[in-house]
């Protein structure tokens, strides 16, 4: 019998080790971020992680301020935990990211780490990041793209001309863990998402050795319309259900 549902967030990341490469889904908002899986990684206290994703997160302190400021346009739950939690606790040694800097006059934990020389940054645009993850998922070693030629992104990369235009060779990024967020799952690991909370999550599914999905709800096999499944369960190894009420990040669960 296939059953990918696991009983706790701690169990879902129990085999993560120091130095792991961890893809973290989401775009930067609360709905698409696998917050409870991030919290479990924080509790596990694994170190020297390489995180891969759009942002390096805000961290606990800035999120509290942001939640208050954003209240005029969007109500946000108390349980918005993001990659900044791991960065702030010194668990991250490198980030492969598109949006490490805050779009505001504050420094995120990741920016502080970079400026203090404790964290390394590989900066990429979102197209190249997505494609590098998708390549890993599809067994493609590398690909060429014109995006980034003549900018910081070109540094150290092979340049080759196609149709008269310079392209960069970009290699697949394979992770040890993809931590993603979805709306509904079945026990095969098939996933559907809600609105723009889809974003990077399906791209990371299958791009790592282990993909863990944090979901709002598990449904019976057959309840997800096969025409509408976004992520086939083939890409997903573990599924964990979010609690109905917000829980503190440092509580075992």
């Amino acid at each position: 019998m296939i059953n990918k549902i696991v009983g706790s967030f701690d169990e879902a990341v129990a085999d993560m080790v120091d130095g792991a490469t961890v893809m973290i889904g989401g775009f930067g908002g609360p709905a698409e971020c696998p917050g409870y899986l991030i919290a479990a990684v924080a509790r596990k206290e694994v170190k020297d992680l390489t995180i891969v994703g759009n942002t390096g997160g805000w961290g606990v302190n800035l999120l509290a301020i942001l939640r208050e400021r954003m209240a005029v346009i969007l109500k946000i739950g108390e349980d918005w935990y993001d990659p900044g939690l791991l960065v702030g606790r010194g668990q991250v040694k490198k980030g492969i990211l598109c949006f490490p800097a805050a779009p505001a006059r504050v420094l995120t934990p990741f920016e502080q780490g970079v400026l203090q020389g404790q964290v390394e940054l590989e900066l990429l645009g979102q197209g190249t990041l997505c494609e590098r993850m998708r390549a890993a998922k599809g067994g493609i070693a590398a690909f060429y793209t014109p995006v980034g030629v003549g900018t910081v992104v070109e540094e150290g990369k092979e340049v080759r001309e196609f149709n008269g235009r310079k392209h960069l060779l970009e290699h697949a990024i394979k992770g040890d863990f993809s931590l993603i967020r979805a709306h509904k799952a079945d026990r095969y690991g098939n996933l559907v998402y809600r609105g723009t909370a889809r974003t990077f999550n399906p791209v990371m599914a299958g791009a790592s050795t282990v993909t863990v999905a944090e979901v709002d709800e598990v449904v019976e096999l057959g309840e997800l319309d096969p025409e509408c499944v976004v992520t086939p369960g083939v890409y997903v190894q573990r599924v964990v259900v979010r609690p109905k009420e917000p829980r503190p990040w440092d509580e075992a669960m």
Binding site: F27, I73, A101, L123, G125, G127, T199, P202
Partner: protein, 223 residues
């Protein structure tokens, strides 16, 4: 004495004039986001946001109506609209990288007379974020740089050579500012329009970029 400078909303109105019926448009953060409020009424435009949505409705400003599952790339809640499509981020970036975006309007740190765009970082002040902006700058069919002509301190943002790190070289097609509209052409930076009360000489006086002034420069209009 030069005329007044356009405010940010008016700059956005001028930029939105560029949007033609049926176009796919992606707006960068900052002043460009205001453009979505000023689409000419006779035109059907599909706005694309790189986090994975195309064809969405207006930005929602009441938290009671907002849904955290429907936001744009600036994390602003947006409204659903008939015909809207949701996609994952890789698909969304294929829309950009495959050249399916007709116009992108991007903010500016510096833009050069050759169309080089610097807009992702100011070294020493921040570490910088490329987001989806680099993909847009490289791959959109038309790149419009929307910016004040100078910084608050009076330094030119339209320059001969960018001194800040580039987001993309030779990518900008049109520069719309608070005092002038210019096109980046093979022959150089060509003045098309000046804001009311401004002359070509006054615009040229604010930058070391060489501005080519053809005989048919017009006064900027919003309709």
């Amino acid at each position: 004495m030069a005329g007044e400078r356009l405010d940010e909303q008016t700059m956005a109105i001028r930029a939105a004039k560029e949007f033609q019926d049926g176009m796919i448009i992606n707006l960068g953060v900052g002043i460009p986001t205001f453009c979505s409020n000023f689409v000419p009424p006779d035109r059907e435009i599909l706005f694309h946001s790189e986090n994975g949505v195309v064809g969405f409705g207006p930005i929602i400003d009441n938290p009671d109506d907002a849904d955290e599952n429907l936001i744009n790339a600036g994390a602003q809640p947006i409204s659903s609209k008939p015909g809207m499509a949701i996609m994952d981020h890789a698909e969304s970036l294929c829309i950009i990288r495959g050249g399916h975006v007709d116009i992108t309007v991007l903010g500016v740190v510096q833009v050069s007379e050759k169309g080089d765009l610097a807009n992702y970082t100011i070294p020493g002040k921040q570490i910088g974020s490329l987001g989806g902006g680099q993909d847009l700058a490289f791959c959109a069919k038309k790149v419009i740089a929307l910016t004040t002509f100078t910084t608050k301190e009076g330094d030119a943002k339209v320059v001969k050579e960018c001194t800040q790190p580039l987001t993309a070289p030779r990518c900008v097609d049109r520069i719309i500012t608070d005092i002038a509209v210019m096109d980046v052409r093979p022959e150089g930076l060509v003045l098309r329009e000046v804001a009311p009360g401004w002359t070509a000489e006054e615009v040229q006086g604010l930058t070391d970029a060489k501005i080519i002034v053809p005989p048919d420069v017009e006064e900027m209009t919003l309709l």
